[in-house]
């Protein structure tokens, strides 16, 4: 067991740190959260800078245009960019973290050449059309229908919780191509051009008041068969392949950020007198333990990915269950520090408290995660 980084890893960190110090002051001011086109161009501008400096697709395989970095280098990258206050992946999220890796793993040579370079260069934005109003936790129950018509699929249905839909060029879309097959078997993966006739995007307002995601309505939308990645009816497997890209790094930046927020909370409490309350101090002390442990668990999972060839182990669901709860605890503790000011939307942490409520729901609710841990790790039987 070792927590020391190798000389090569330290050199990677030093070079990155130097580059960040040089380029971050040249960034334009951050756009308003409600201005989607401005957010898109800001996020893509950052991606272009990464590309020009050789950091684009750090964790992607080299033959897909990535850097083929080790999981530990990826961890260092995420830690350093968060510490330096670099922009978040933002509009590039789906392209860089899911659709791109899926195409890299399962796409044809033409598909890889068409779609991967624009993702890496920060030219095209992808969104994700997976969930539906009646297919949330039970994703494989999705009903958006695609029927073959010559060299195209004709797609009808609706998708929900689609982030960046308003500004996306492409959507990685799961559709049902065989309604008579068992539910995981009749699904196909398509790349949908968002400007195709019949695509309607309606923003959804979250409880935090902002339009963070959208509903996408599909009304007889024609998608070329050439846009299908993998075989017809093999879309479930195609989509799940990308999970093997998960190397324990999914929440690195966020854990780093939570530890910084915790320090700021403690200093705020010292200034406003709340620190004199031993119950509050102990609450923050406990959170310090939890986030330190989550950082160590991240290092553990990344090391495991590095030694085990990138296949995620026990770590992912265990980490998410613990982290999503700790994050909500953190912002509840922030409200304890702020007192009545915790009700003022203009105060720091108040919007974060609201958005933290999504963490035990998005990307697999805590209840679903516990089922996964119980059945796949502990080997408990499935319920009838």
């Amino acid at each position: 067991m070792d927590l020391a980084y190798t000389p090569e890893e330290e050199e990677f960190r030093a070079r990155l740190r130097e580059w960040l110090a040089k380029v971050l002051p040249t960034l334009p001011p951050k756009p308003s959260p409600d201005d989607w086109p401005a957010r898109r161009s800001y996020d893509l501008g950052w991606q272009r800078m990464l590309h020009d400096a050789g950091y684009a697709g750090l964790h992607w395989p080299v033959d897909a245009g990535g850097q083929g970095a080790t999981p530990t280098q990826h961890l260092i990258y995420l830690e350093e960019t968060e510490n330096a206050g670099a922009p978040y992946v933002g509009a590039g999220f789906v392209g860089l973290l899911h659709a791109g890796p899926t195409i890299a793993a399962e796409g044809s040579a033409e598909q890889r050449a068409r779609w991967l370079p624009p993702i890496l260069r920060g030219e095209e934005v992808w969104c994700q059309g997976f969930s539906e109003p009646d297919a949330g936790s039970d994703l494989a129950a999705l009903r958006t229908r695609a029927r073959r018509d010559g060299d195209a699929y004709v797609v009808s249905g609706s998708k929900i919780w689609t982030s960046h839909a308003e500004v996306a060029d492409w959507c990685e879309l799961l559709v049902r191509t065989d309604p008579s097959a068992q539910k995981h078997r009749g699904i196909t993966w398509l790349a949908l051009p968002m400007d195709a006739p019949g695509v309607t995007v309606r923003p959804l307002r979250t409880l935090a008041g902002s339009a963070e995601f959208a509903e996408v309505f599909l009304d007889d939308v024609r998608v070329p068969v050439a846009n299908r990645v993998g075989d017809e009816n093999d879309g479930w497997r195609v989509t799940m392949v990308t999970l093997s890209f998960e190397r324990g790094t999914a929440f690195v930046g966020e854990v780093v950020a939570c530890r910084r927020v915790l320090g700021e909370l403690a200093r705020t409490a010292r200034r406003n007198g709340r620190w004199d309350d031993p119950a509050l101090r102990r609450r923050l002390g406990r959170l310090n333990a939890e986030f330190r442990a989550l950082w160590r668990l991240t290092q553990w999972n990344v090391s495991e990915a590095e030694t085990g060839g990138g296949v995620p182990g026990v770590g992912g669901s265990v980490f998410k269950l613990s982290y999503s709860h700790a994050r909500q605890e953190l912002y509840d503790a922030a409200a304890d520090v702020l007192g009545p000011e915790s009700l003022d939307l203009d105060r720091p942490w108040v919007l974060d408290r609201l958005s933290s409520l999504s963490y035990t729901i998005a990307a697999g609710t805590s209840q679903i995660q516990r089922n996964i841990v119980a059945e796949r790790i502990l080997g408990l039987p499935k319920g009838r």
Binding site: M1, L284, N288, L378, L380, P381
Partner: protein, 290 residues
């Protein structure tokens, strides 16, 4: 960075687990509960395999390993519910004659308690620390306890080894609960097929694995704040894990015959040792504004 067990560390863990399963398995555990007392022969065997001399330099007759290996050893001891003043004797190796080889049983004041005082050959630490110690009727049938008036200052290494024992209990409690949930049937199916039971088991694993990352990391860094975090999370993983294990066992879990209560009671005993939750939380809070 390679934050995983090495092949040698896995081998050390497996050897100890084998020894403890052979020498202190279910039947021996039950016998120890029926006839309390320290098994001196087992104590010497632990000495022979280097349990106490693990961190003593080879030049001094020790095994010459470090805190990570000690943590793995104490995790195994915790799993097996191995009785005796293990932490105190381990810390006395190389200082108190006979401790390293398991010839001497060494105890110490830890928190406001002394474990195994009547059976110990030596009380390690400040002279007279255990003077006037008062026996109490211990809740744990396998840990005789005396109370002292003034607490001993907490030793971070002792607290980390306690955390490692708690981690062993947390892991074992999860295993026992899962075994029971897979075999016990009600309403025509294993109770582990019910989500209410599944989710209890899943949370036991989550707490244990988060604590494991904290305990192993603290063993690598030996940093007092890391140790406080490890201890806090391991205490909680053990106490809540053993309690949830009892709940999964239902009525059987409430009986003397089942071993579940022994895990919970030992977790309670260890939680009272120096460096417990209040101390750890205050240390971790102070670190935030340091």
């Amino acid at each position: 960075m390679r934050f995983q067990l090495t092949a040698d560390q896995r081998a050390l863990r497996d050897v100890l687990r084998g020894l403890l399963t052979r020498r202190f398995g279910g039947a021996a555990l039950r016998a120890a509960v029926d006839a309390p007392g320290l098994d001196r022969a087992l104590w010497r065997e632990l000495g022979d395999v280097g349990f106490f001399a693990l961190r003593l330099p080879e030049a001094d007759g020790g095994v010459g390993l470090g805190l990570p290996e000690a943590v793995l050893a104490f995790e195994e001891a915790g799993r097996a519910l191995l009785p005796g003043p293990l932490v105190a004797t381990h810390l006395a190796a190389g200082v108190v004659p006979g401790a390293a080889g398991g010839e001497a049983v060494v105890t110490a004041v830890d928190g406001r308690l002394v474990e195994w005082l009547a059976e110990a050959d030596v009380v390690h630490g400040e002279a007279g620390a255990a003077a006037g110690a008062v026996p109490l009727r211990s809740v744990d049938p396998l840990t005789p306890l005396h109370r002292v008036a003034a607490p001993a200052p907490a030793d971070p290494v002792a607290s980390l080894l306690t955390a490692a024992e708690q981690l062993g209990t947390a892991t074992r409690a999860c295993e026992l609960a899962v075994q029971h949930a897979r075999t016990r049937e009600q309403f025509g199916q294993p109770i582990g097929a019910f989500q209410a039971v599944k989710h209890l088991c899943a949370q036991m694993l989550v707490r244990a694995e988060v604590a494991r990352a904290a305990v192993y990391a603290a063993a690598v860094t030996a940093d007092p704040v890391d140790i406080a975090a490890a201890r806090l999370l391991a205490d909680e993983a053990a106490e809540r894990g053993a309690r949830d294990c009892l709940q999964v066992h239902g009525g059987m879990g409430f009986t003397w015959e089942s071993e579940v209560h022994l895990h919970l009671k030992r977790a309670w005993v260890r939680a009272q040792r120096g460096g417990g939750s209040t101390e750890s939380e205050e240390l971790l809070a102070a670190d935030l504004v340091a």
